[in-house]
Amino acid sequence: MATEAPDAGAFMAAVESLVGRAPELSPLDAGLLAALRMGVAGDTRAFAKVFGVPHALVLRATSELADEFGLVAVTGRDPRTQRTRLELTDAGARLLEGAALAA
């Protein structure tokens, strides 16, 4: 979790760093990873609210990150809202460390 409050500039830098390191990731994929790492949002619905991204698109990014890339693990899903809770996998954590994101 973040030890100090993130700001938008740091967040954007993190996203750009991740996309640069792993070009197969979309900015949204990278944003979701960075948000997990920086403690901005731990689930899809919170992420959607903070960034004004349609929740459906965040769920799609989650599917890609979990099923295709193995960078996040789904730890729970609320069937009433589809809010999906996530955590970084070891592979995800390694990617973020490699991208030298502030933790």
Binding site: D7, A8, G42, D43, F47, A48, V53, P54, R77, D78
Partner: protein
């Protein structure tokens, strides 16, 4: 994965407000920078997501920010972790499953493998896709005529699937296209085409932001298209009048707490939706509108007689319409006694509605099944259109006609050729594009298909989604008709009761849902496209991993059946299935309005198909918008019921936990019903007149002249705010008393909102 709801408190703190408060606010404090982050995150998100929940328009590109209540139910329904595997079917015979409820059967979960019915064991057994396609092809080729096959389409099918499906059927040699539109908005299509030359609504979502008055007729958006409530709510908040005509007092139309209005939600508040709520009797809408027109015309005449400006749009009427004088004569000849008796509204109520209409510069009229599932639905749609034409409320900003479709692509399916009587230009264009001869003889709609199967003239049924046996009238009769077929093929995501009405040879083929990621041969995700009620065409890509590795898309299944039936010499079915862009390119060459389809559908919000009437171009025989001069029916069902002992008019409708024939749950919270579905809503005085008390249990007995006995057993009477003589209950349970022998004039739509019934106490059953 744990598919369980977290503790509420934890969820509340972890998401939403918690996130915004504890972490997100640090981002939010730098507003412009956050805007940059948001823009960055949305980059390269060309594939939107079209919610399968309803056909209401989207303000954003292909998806709302948040799922609405029904949308998330639809998504969750597909995303379930439950599976209907071959092991499940091995444990249960089809005969046994026929005794399950709709809810229980669909709740088994997602189909995982193609299945073939085995008559010896009375079970579905797994089969390979190749074997299934080959046998289906052989069976279809063996029919004496292609017209012995029925190709049913659910409104879930995408434009691409529907186009390929109709191409398959027509290349095979038939125009038999029963589709779910036949059971819902057919009357709207027929009526609007006669009046305006186009069978679709004329408004855009933006028009709801500008209308001064919105007349909502025979629909219940709170349950059937909740996102519409947001638009009605915003209209009400800025002072527009929202006049509702609905026999049933629907809470969702009275007040609405928008889940996205957080402060309002937290305070437990809500916003009034309906500024005026009228409760006509079932089928009384045409008479009510006739009454409004009578007042408008009278006031106009009075104004002119007094030397004041008239109230009609004279310039519009002169330039763009024909037939007003004949309609005016009909209106003047219609007595107030007839109007009041048939509508069930008083003169004062109708006058109030007329004042809403006359007080607005821009009027929208919307409607749904409450208008279209009556015998006189087509002329009712035309009467509504007449009223709007009087003051030029068609073809200008903030005004127009808006039939609100149910299934997410029912409108698009018709646009791309699911039409048993397609126009010649379309058929000729197909022949030019594909080099195949296609039939011209009109085919079967739903009622024709049921007749043909019942009489043995149709021997094969292919169902592209849906639940034909349960969605149609006379449930048992239709199930028997399916069982008489040589071949039944059901393409579905979950098992349903319709799948248990098996032909001699029967297949159950599992397909991807709209919410699932659909990859092409190279592993790249593909989009499909749909058309909403405002004629906007959106792209939609899946968001979840498929429920099983053995699933195929509807498009791939159609292509597989088509190749096995008609061969691939003229049409590259496999190529279409491999790349949906190729299907869209073909559509663009066949159907005007889809030019640059693949480019335009990937733009924000997609694109709008041109609606000539919205531009005041009238593709009618006269070249003008045509007033209908139909008289009111001499008598409609609620009037007939008065002359019969203990007779009532029944409408079937959805519960809040329901989407068409799919039952998500057993509650109907807006109407205060929990944990049950076998209920009938009736006026307290009618319950007393039956000699019953609220909560008494009764059988519902059909009263029809065709000699067929129809009984739906064991329903609880619920006292409700509904006009006397009118009752209501849920389909599909009550479809057992809806007669397929009766249908709407000119539309063949089932009369699901005007079913003559009586009640039999259970103890006397």
């Amino acid at each position: 994965m744990a598919n369980v709801a977290p503790p509420l408190k934890k969820s509340h703190a972890a998401g939403g407000w918690g996130a915004l408060r504890s972490c997100g606010k640090h981002l939010l404090k730098s507003g412009s920078a956050l805007t940059g982050a948001m823009t960055l995150l949305k980059a390269n998100q060309s594939d939107g997501f079209d919610c399968p929940g309803c056909a209401w328009g989207d303000p954003e590109h292909g998806s709302s920010f948040e799922f609405c209540e029904n949308g998330v139910k639809a998504v969750s329904w597909e995303a379930t972790a439950r599976r209907a595997t071959p092991a499940f079917f091995a444990q249960h015979t089809v005969s046994e499953l026929r005794g399950w409820t709709d809810y229980a059967l669909e709740n088994v979960g997602r189909l995982t493998e193609p299945m073939r019915y085995d008559a010896k064991t009375d079970r579905y057994l797994p089969v390979s896709w190749d074997e299934a396609f080959a046998e289906i092809g052989a069976e279809l080729r063996a029919l004496a005529s292609p017209d012995e096959a029925e190709f049913y389409t659910s409104g879930r099918a995408s434009n691409e699937a529907a186009f390929l499906y109709q191409l398959f059927a027509r290349a095979y040699g038939t125009n038999n296209f029963p589709d779910c539109s036949n059971m819902c908005h057919e009357a709207s299509g027929v009526g609007l085409t006669q009046s305006l030359g186009v069978g679709k609504g004329t408004v855009l979502l933006e028009d709801f932001e500008r209308a001064d008055a919105i007349i909502v007729i025979g629909q219940n958006p709170g349950t059937n298209h909740p996102r519409m409530l947001g638009d009605l709510r915003r209209a009400a908040q800025r002072g527009a009048r929202v006049a509702v005509l609905n026999p049933v007092r629907e809470r969702g139309l009275e007040r609405f707490a928008d889940p996205q209005a957080k402060i309002e939600m937290l305070r437990g508040g809500s916003t009034s939706i309906a500024t005026h709520y009228f409760q006509p009797k079932l089928g009384g809408d045409m008479a009510a509108i006739r009454g409004v027109a009578k007042i408008v015309l009278m006031r106009d005449a009075e104004a002119r007689a007094a030397g004041e400006p008239g109230l009609l749009d004279d310039a519009f009427i002169a330039q763009h319409t024909t037939g007003l004088d004949a309609w005016r004569a009909e209106v003047e000849a219609t007595s107030w006694g007839q109007i009041e008796d048939q509508s069930g509204l008083t003169f004062d109520e109708i006058q109030t509605l007329a004042e809403v209409y006359l007080g607005a510069e821009r009027v929208i009229a919307t409607w749904a099944m409450g208008v279209t599932q009556h015998r006189h639905s087509v002329i009712t749609v035309r009467e509504i259109t007449n009223l709007l034409l009087l003051r030029g409320h068609v073809g200008r900003e903030g005004a127009g006609l808006c039939p609100v479709r149910g299934h997410s692509n029912v409108q698009g399916d018709r646009t791309v050729g699911i039409n048993e009587n397609a126009p010649e230009w379309f058929l000729a264009a197909l022949e030019r594009e594909f080099g195949v001869a296609v039939p011209r003889e009109p085919g079967h709609n739903v009622l024709h298909a049921i007749h043909a199967m019942t009489e043995g003239r149709a021997r094969a049924f292919i169902g592209l989604g849906g639940n034909f046996a349960r969605a149609t009238p006379d449930t048992e009769l239709v199930a028997e008709a399916l069982r008489r077929c040589r071949l039944t093929v059901q393409i579905a995501t979950k098992p349903n009761l319709g799948h248990m009405a098996v032909g001699e040879v029967a297949f159950l083929l599992p397909c991807l849902g709209r919410t699932e990621i659909d990859r092409d041969a190279a592993g790249k995700s593909q989009i499909v496209t749909v058309e909403d009620s405002m004629s906007m065409v959106h792209g939609s890509g899946g968001i979840n991993k498929p429920a099983s590795p053995h699933l195929k898309s509807e498009i791939a299944i159609i292509a597989g059946m088509a190749a096995a039936t008609v061969g691939s010499e003229r049409i590259d079915w496999a190529g279409f299935a491999a790349d949906y862009d190729r299907i869209r390119d073909a559509i663009a060459r066949v159907i005007p309005g889809f030019e640059d389809y693949n480019v335009r559908v990937r733009r924000p919000r997609g694109f709008r198909l041109r609606n000539a009437a919205a531009e005041r171009e009238w593709n009618t025989p006269s070249g003008k918008a045509e007033f209908s001069a139909a008289p009111l029916p001499a008598e409609i069902e609620h009037q007939q019921a008065r002359r019969r002992k203990s007779a009532y008019v029944l409408q079937t409708f959805r519960s809040h936990d329901q989407y068409n024939t799919t039952i998500y749950g057993m509650d109907d919270r807006y109407r205060g019903v929990y944990g049950e579905r076998r209920v009938v809503f009736a006026h307290p005085d009618d319950i007393a007149a039956m000699g019953a008390t609220p909560n008494a249990r009764v059988d519902v007995v059909g009263l029809h002249e065709d000699g067929r006995t129809r009984v739906a057993e064991d329903f609880r009477l619920v006292a409700y705010d509904i006009p006397r003589g009118c009752v209501a209950g849920y389909y599909p349970e009550l479809n057992a008393v809806v007669p397929f022998s009766e249908a709407g004039d000119l539309s063949d739509t089932p009369l699901s909102k005007s079913v003559m019934v009586t009640f039999r106490p259970r103890e006397a059953a």
